[in-house]
Amino acid sequence: MDSTKSTGETALNIPESKSTKDKNTVAYTATTTATPYPQARWKRGVSIFDFILRICALVAALAATATMGTTDQTLPFFTQFFQFQASYDDLPTFTFFVVANAIVSGYLFLSLPFSIVGIVRPHAAGIKLLLLIFDTMMVAFATAAAAAAAAIVYLAHNGNSNTNWLAICQQFTDFCQRVSGAVVASFIAAVILIFLVLLSAVALRRR
């Protein structure tokens, strides 16, 4: 029995038996042809798409972190009693937002080499499973940060009459705009992460 691995074909040759009385002695040859080539191409395409999406998510998460982290608005008048300066660390939820998005950006940056390994070796299931595990946890993390900040931003825009919470956006319009933009960017990053999980799940299948 010999097998040639280079073309994906395996040929089994069973030699003729010497001591036969039959007339039907034929050398049986069975060939099995595995066809990895089209499957590898498809998986490679999925991996390349995964890499591109990862870069897009990294850009979105970085933009969210930077936009929220550099908010600092000071209104040009002041009195003794009121605070007229708004920054992201006035609200602990926004601090959590900046930290969480920084962690997500860092993770996406570190996962880029793993994604490249997935492109180069399309059948590495261990790498894809590892990426899927961490992507799932990052989906939860990024969505948590984005939703918490969105709740505070909604409150800042609309206020709440039942709890006597005033809408601070009417004073700090620039701060409010920046913060809302950062929340939108973070939601985009979370949605892209969901698609990354789906892509990894699709690429993990074995036919």
Partner: protein, 184 residues
Amino acid sequence: MGGLELGSKNPGSAPKTEATRGVAIIDFVLRIVALIATLASAISMGTTNESLPFFTQFIKFRAKYNDLPTFTFFVAANSIVSAYLVLSLALSIFHIMRSGAQKSRVVMIFFDTGMLALLTAGASAAAAIVYLAHKGNIKANWFAICQQFNSFCERISRSLIGSFGGMMILILLILMSAATLSRR
């Protein structure tokens, strides 16, 4: 006699199928636990209603969950996830019976991830508002309402636990489905 022996199934695949079936059963059980957790959260938040025993014309002394739109979203998100978990129990039973199903597992992972995002969004938005209700915020002149409405505050804080527990279980379910996919 010459001839080619017919290849039999890989003898190492029998324990694999058993392990996959075990994982599918754990998946089913965890789904039921997550369903109970999210349903309890939705009900516990949805039945909040506290009235303080005195009133004036100007200040409100009744607290209910739909005074804050974020809590309404929380109840809605938990209800949707509970309904999805009930429907996905059927798919989970199908996976117990047929261990080799791959496409349906991918579909289940996709919907599980979507529901994870929805549940996490609802839970963390409500957590932000609960934190604000406990601590208030000096810079924004937002008063901590928990000092007045003790029972309301306690209830909304406790209902977050079930929701976050459901979120952890959903993450586990996704990871188990992915691990099963990669082993087949």
